[in-house]
């Protein structure tokens, strides 16, 4: 294929027309004047070129249809991606997530202000000064009042007093440690002196300052032994 004037042309056609042109030109010139011979050449050239053009197949169509198809397909792909973006943006708008992204600090400030206003006792929602009204209009008592059962001693305790109770009951506090040490030291005393201890409140007070917080049962043992000897 050869491209002449944007048209694809068969090589055979070109050669054929060229040959025709040459053949016609080579005819013995019956016309004498140069002007007429020039005109003859000119006409022959025009004839041959037009023959070439007629015989050629226009190549534009193939290329253009191909590119048209490509553009259409590209447009198709782009459309589906646009729909994806639009549906995601629609979801964000409907769920209010775009507000959360940009204006979080503004919302935080506003909610803090609202909370301050709500906890202000001069507020109209504060008719009884004990309870705070939250943003849903609910009130909560200052101490949680659900009743639970302690797993250590088996007593029923209020939820708001549960942690302090566990402290005393399980061993962080003095009395709890004394309880534990009393049971172990009572065993020792029984072994050593043969008499169980009944009173431990007097020496618990006196040994309070001596005791270090969080000491183990061994140290407690020593202390109680010492205080026992004191007595």
């Amino acid at each position: 294929m050869v491209l002449i004037f944007g048209h694809e042309v068969e090589i055979g056609g070109v050669l054929g027309c060229g040959g025709l042109w040459w053949f016609l030109l080579a005819e013995p010139a019956r016309y004498s004047t140069p002007v007429e011979s020039f005109q003859r050449v000119h006409n022959l050239t025009k004839l041959c070129v037009s023959l070439i053009l007629i015989m050629s197949t226009p190549a534009d169509d193939n290329v253009s249809s191909n590119s048209q198809l490509s553009s259409d397909l590209f447009g198709d792909l782009l459309d589906s991606i646009i729909v994806d973006v639009a549906s995601e943006a629609h979801r964000i708008a409907r769920l209010g997530l775009d507000r959360n992204l940009d204006e979080e600090e503004v919302e935080l400030r506003l909610s803090a202000e609202a909370r301050a206003r709500a906890s202000d006792p001069s507020h109209s929602g504060e008719a009884n000064g004990k309870y705070v009204v939250d943003i849903f209009g609910q009130t909560h008592p200052p101490v949680a009042n659900e009743i639970l059962e302690c797993m250590n001693c088996g007593r029923s305790i209020m939820a708001g007093r549960f942690a302090p109770h566990l402290e005393k009951c399980m061993g962080k506090g003095r009395k709890a440690r004394l309880k534990a040490t009393r049971s172990s030291s009572a065993a020792q005393n029984r072994y050593l002196r043969g008499s169980p201890l009944s009173t431990h409140s007097p020496y618990s007070n006196s040994t309070g300052p001596n005791r270090s917080n969080g000491s183990s049962g061994v140290a407690g043992d020593e202390n109680s032994c010492g205080s026992l000897r004191e007595l």
């Binding site: 191909n66 590119s67 198809l69 490509s70 553009s71 259409d72 397909l73 590209f74 447009g75 792909l77 782009l78 459309d79 589906s80 991606i81 646009i82 729909v83 994806d84 973006v85 639009a86 549906s87 995601e88 943006a89 629609h90 964000i92 708008a93 409907r94 209010g96 775009d98």
Partner: protein, 124 residues
């Protein structure tokens, strides 16, 4: 008895009541030749090339920030219209002209190149 029921003039009425016009799909398929575009589309989908091209285009558009631009336009439009009044259709109509125009030339050229090479490789 069945044979008696199936014979006789009443059957014609029955058959007429059961007879329905053929579903449109069947009619259309037999009347029309699938166009070149449809053939290409089917070939694209079947070979999995369409999915690959779509992923490539999506990746390129994210890289060049086109996606964020479109999302910002949607957000602004939604804020203007009122958050609960927007529809997907609405947003699509808003984005489509701007979106088509603002695809970077390099991205478009790359995709067109790949599409054309696929077209030539499928030997129309």
């Amino acid at each position: 008895m069945l044979i008696w029921l199936l014979s006789g003039p009443e059957v014609r009425f029955w058959r007429a009541s059961i007879k329905r016009p053929p579903t449109p799909d069947a009619e259309d398929e037999t009347d029309r030749e699938p166009t070149i575009q449809e053939i290409i589309n089917i070939k694209l989908i079947e070979s999995g090339e369409k999915e690959r091209l779509k992923e490539l285009l999506r990746e390129r558009l994210i890289e060049c920030g086109w996606r964020d631009e479109m999302k910002a336009i949607c957000r602004a439009h939604a804020r203007k219209k009122g958050r609960n009044n927007v529809t997907v259709d609405d947003l699509v109509h808003v984005i489509t002209p701007k979106g088509r125009a603002s695809v970077p030339d390099s991205v478009k050229a790359e995709l067109l190149q790949r599409i054309r090479s696929f077209l030539s490789s499928t030997a129309l």
